[in-house]
Symmetry: D2
Subunit: 254 residues, 4 copies
């Protein structure tokens, strides 16, 4: 693929990834810099040399790279959690997935990517600024068309019915359990992320009264290693917590 | 969706999931049983009562359920690892993904599911028995068509070129790094799973000599919680280890 | 040290540790057995051969071995947690430590061992059967004299004053915070173990109203590795949870 | 206990612990400061007010506090690891414990504290600067007398015989296994810390050839929680790695 103005690339330089759009101007690292227009006409996998001699490798930006680099005004969902959500909610080709609380849109981007061309994401968010930010992040991936935003605070029900999966990333998800139940297809999955144990307890307590079964709570830890083959060991620090993931499936009655 | 003979469902009974195909015969749990033909004509989300009064909830089997329940003769890849692989290798609609070492076919199923109708998976395996098992597991998901198996031991090269991503799940993945480099598109990702630290070191050491950059090593831990809201706490036991995940991207020269 | 009847040894055979008292009779493993009186006159570090040819290594039983092998009727505290408690409560020579809830006496044994000859442990327990069990476990270590048991349910206060440290291992530790405050020396540490997050919240909420500062909550994970040098990797399973450790220090007023 | 010049206290202010020696001069936090001589005549558990109105709580410094605050020029052993070492090596009253590689002396301090008045620690270190630093750290705890330092690089043997336990914290501990075997009592424990998996493999490989049994490898993770009872959750970051702990016991022959 020959790169042209407007394309995104990952520049890998001095051991770090940088997600960059090709346009007029310069890109600077600590030690070196390049002119971005030099990227035009190159291919993924090539390298260009900085003005001071450092190597800048041109890599295909994956969905993983886009997720880590979303422009953010909120805490975002991380790949370690998104990966499990994709599997538990079966976010595949053609699926209609509803999310409430798009925040900066990291999960929105992942959902939109994995539902494919024929799928659809319905995203509810009460803060207009977050919708705009999520749209901006989606536009980098050219996925805006796959997402229908609802700028509203949900109380009793969502507008959609018979969706294939729902994910809630809001402060009080227990209040949205009846609406989620209404919108879901029978036997289909609901997912929730909350950062605190108090919220997990509240969700579980509310869920017990409603027709949801197959309830699970997980936390996922992702531990990085230094890549020296002769001195293999984990990094000194790791992320200790993002949130607890709760999953359940809707049934018609208990 | 009205269920008919040949369909798969998850039966949720006595706190456990069972992946079942609808056919003649019975399904037994510890305490109760049902006649499977009773499932015909039902919908996901409904329940039927066992002969001794227990509830059997009929749930949509997700890709997550299929992955956990693959028929296996080998160690399989688990959802915690597969989720990250999907993101790092960008296993989306239309992608051409190559794997070497299909084992029982858990990852093969996930790859085939997520590349979608227009995508393709190329799977190399030297044990014929494993290919047959993987095909059986794929057939439950009706995904056989998306996978091209190569029954061969790879040495110097794969048959495909310009693939979008490669995953190696073999004993000596360092021997396949040159072949993987050849088969990958420039700037595109390679993933590897190995169970031991010695293998991680060997992969990293070999990789240093080859044009791969953006190398990462991760391990993922998935910790389950008991779902009692008044006594929230992790389960007593968890899986301590499946393997180390190594990722890198191909460049044309270092 | 020449072993004699009544002494404890660890027999290490077929990859496992067995804590054994030397007396008349036999000791059986899966594959082999020995006559225990054969141990008399031997020294730690020697081995004897089983009747079927297996090696039985005679090892010094450490406090770690005794803690793992306490006879138990309850969940016990594990070394991973006890190790931190020893440091946070400064359970050293000559200290006067109070515990409430001795259970099977694992922590009681550790406290009694580490306070030394001049130290003292005060142990409150409402179940007489547990006191007897704890005493039995202490007697293996010949540490009964260092522990004063109170068979009573504590409400308003402990009998002791000016103790150097307190550990609570009871269902509702928040009810004992005022009594603990009364019994502790100024500026000295309190420790608590609870298995659920709900209990952690209740302890923290109660503590906020009382003159305790320097509050910390920890959980400790201990991950075992297989010991094959050519295939180094963690074991498949690990203990995912024992409890949350809460620590604080008493001040006279907030 | 009435505090006087030369005593150590922990000052707890603005949510942080500070280990301080009482002397002439001032102690500053971000927001406030006190005159240290104001501490004279106070007791642990009291508070004094800073010049700008903040509270400074006077706490008993525990061995845990001293270990975290050792003056350091090297990576130090952390309480999570030291706690387990105390139990595995049975570092109790009257024991004779040998360590090789004192570094900044954190473990040396813990060993010296827990062997008590009648115990002894033998510490080998080839860098004189480290011995001086360890002695300085010991002197804060008034434990210098309990430690005999050997300023030398060990090759074939240690000077002591029949010690109760040995801990190695050096780069190439496999080279000291024969010397450690010679110095240990039969059936008694050896402990080792190494940061990398390559070193673990090397130790295990060497150990296989020597009369050591009951070999274990552990890693310990300590995860901190935020202490808000209404929003209980782990901290964002945690230490991902300090080192691998290896333990074994000496036998006379395999």
């Amino acid at each position: 693929m020959v790169l042209k103005k407007g394309d995104y690339v990952v520049l890998f330089a001095e051991g770090k990834r940088h997600l960059i759009k090709i346009k007029e101007g310069y890109f600077h690292t600590h030690k070196d810099f390049i002119e971005l227009t030099e990227l035009e006409g190159k291919n993924y996998g090539e390298k260009i040399q900085g003005k001071r001699g450092c190597d800048f490798y041109i890599l295909k930006p994956t969905i993983y790279d886009f997720l880590l680099k979303v422009e953010r005004k909120t805490q975002i969902l991380y790949p370690k959690d998104i990966g499990l959500i994709l599997l538990k909610l079966e976010v595949g080709e053609g699926k209609r997935i509803l999310e409430c609380g798009c925040g900066s849109g990291a999960l929105t981007c992942a959902l939109a990517y994995f539902v494919g061309e024929k799928g659809k994401v319905f995203s509810y968010e009460r803060e207009e600024a977050f919708i705009k930010l999520a749209q901006k992040n989606l536009s980098r991936l050219e996925l805006q068309e796959r997402v229908l935003f609802h700028h509203q605070e949900v109380r009793d029900s969502f507008e959609e019915e018979e969706v294939d999966g729902i994910f809630l990333d809001v402060k009080e998800p227990w209040e949205l359990l009846p609406a989620s139940h209404k919108a879901l297809k029978g036997g289909h999955p609901l997912g929730i992320l909350v950062p605190t144990t108090n919220q997990v307890s509240l969700v579980l307590r509310t869920m017990q009264e409603l027709p949801f079964v197959d309830v699970e709570v997980w936390e996922i830890l992702m531990r990085p290693y230094k890549i020296n083959p002769e001195r293999l060991r984990p990094e000194d620090l790791m992320i200790a917590h993002t949130g607890y993931l709760i999953f359940a499936k809707k049934v018609f009655s208990l």
